[in-house]
């Protein structure tokens, strides 16, 4: 299945030698069992909806999904930010701190369309992701959606090739971990004051969630932008160190 790592561009879609029939049959059998299970056994009623309903008033937000994501099961979200951080650390180029944090080169070919697109859409993206973050408390929205939107803005900026972020400068490194750092320090602070980890005090829950969410949005945006720019720029990856 994964035996040979094949990177030939022209190769055709399916491996020749692989026994396609056996694979087809086995996956078909898996599919058959799953579908019979789906049809015969109806799902359980309600799941944890009743629990969420009577606890949501305490949770500090009104949108049930944000309540589950950032208050009831906040430990999962914290570990998930750690997963994103792992992916970013793995792709970061090795340290070259002689580059400035943000290098703006006036790239020669004036790609008018992309420049126009950037100038019109970036501010709108910024405002809209701020709104998404704020609306997360009551309507659909939240940290991940706002962060991904900001990252989309950064991807747009990278298109012209004139903006270069040096991901190993101190400022960017702080930006990358600020989301998780605020989360962990809030958790430990609450651990000391409330005696129980990540247990928000009733009346400050909403405010605390918003603070944590905004820092998480900022670091998710920088993390996704770092993931994108690590793939496009060859100079970034092939650093002198190796």
């Amino acid at each position: 299945m994964f035996k040979n790592i094949d990177l030939k561009y022209e190769g055709d879609a399916v491996q020749q030698h692989s026994s396609k029939i056996i694979a087809l049959l086995s996956v078909g059998a898996v599919l058959f069992f799953l579908i019979t299970m789906l049809i015969q056994h109806p799902p359980y009623e309600g799941g944890i909806r009743p629990f969420v309903e009577n606890k949501i008033s305490v949770s500090g937000v009104t949108n049930p999904v944000t309540a589950v994501l950032l208050n009831f099961r906040v430990y999962d979200t914290l570990l998930e930010l750690a997963v994103l951080l792992i992916a970013v650390i793995a792709v970061l180029p090795s340290v070259n701190s002689n580059l400035p944090t943000l290098r703006i080169l006036s790239s020669q070919q004036e790609n008018l369309v992309v420049f126009a697109l950037q100038r019109w859409i970036s501010p709108a993206l910024l405002v809209f992701s701020g709104y998404l973050l704020w609306a997360g408390a009551s309507q659909p929205g939240g940290a991940f959606q706002a962060g991904a939107l900001l990252a989309g803005g950064c991807v747009l900026m990278f298109q012209t090739g004139s903006y270069h972020l040096n991901y190993t400068s101190l400022f960017i490194r702080i930006a990358l971990i600020i989301g998780l750092m605020v989360f962990v320090s809030a958790a430990l602070a609450l651990f000391i004051t409330e005696g129980n980890l990540l247990q928000y005090p009733e009346n400050y829950a909403g405010v605390l969630i918003l603070i944590i969410e905004s820092f998480a949005t900022f670091s998710i945006a920088v993390a996704l932008a770092a993931l994108y720019s690590s793939i496009i720029s060859t100079s970034n990856v092939k650093s002198r160190g190796r």
């Binding site: 299945m1 994964f2 790592i5 094949d6 990177l7 030939k8 561009y9 190769g11 055709d12 879609a13 399916v14 491996q15 692989s18 396609k20 694979a23 087809l24 996956v27 078909g28 898996v30 599919l31 799953l34 579908i35 789906l38 049809i39 799902p43 009623e45 309600g46 799941g47 944890i48 909806r49 969420v52 309903e53 049930p64 999904v65 309540a67 589950v68 994501l69 099961r73 999962d76 979200t77 998930e80 997963v83 994103l84 792992i86 992916a87 793995a90 792709v91 939240g142 991940f144 998710i220 996704l224 993931l227 994108y228 690590s230 793939i231 060859t234 990856v237 092939k238």
Partner: protein
Amino acid sequence: MNTLLMYSVTGVGLFAIGLLGLIISSHIMRKILSINIMGVGIFMLLIAFAKQNGEIADPLPHAMVLTGIVIAAAGTALALNLMVRLYDMQQKNRGSLDDR
């Protein structure tokens, strides 16, 4: 056959297509795409039974899917980065004369 059961069957179908693609596809990029499609299949199954009866849906599957999407994106980004660096390494070896 209510629609939610049909969505569950579609989710399982996507999972099967992704699994099949993973087993018999050749290029690494196709395998990464298959893994993403398997993930979307599982998320569709999760979301499908969230709204069983009544209006408001059970928020837990939604939270699980949100976390799953970000984890899948992180995994895909790392896999793509490794693939690109491996491709550069192979090009360098094939391009440069001395093998070692």
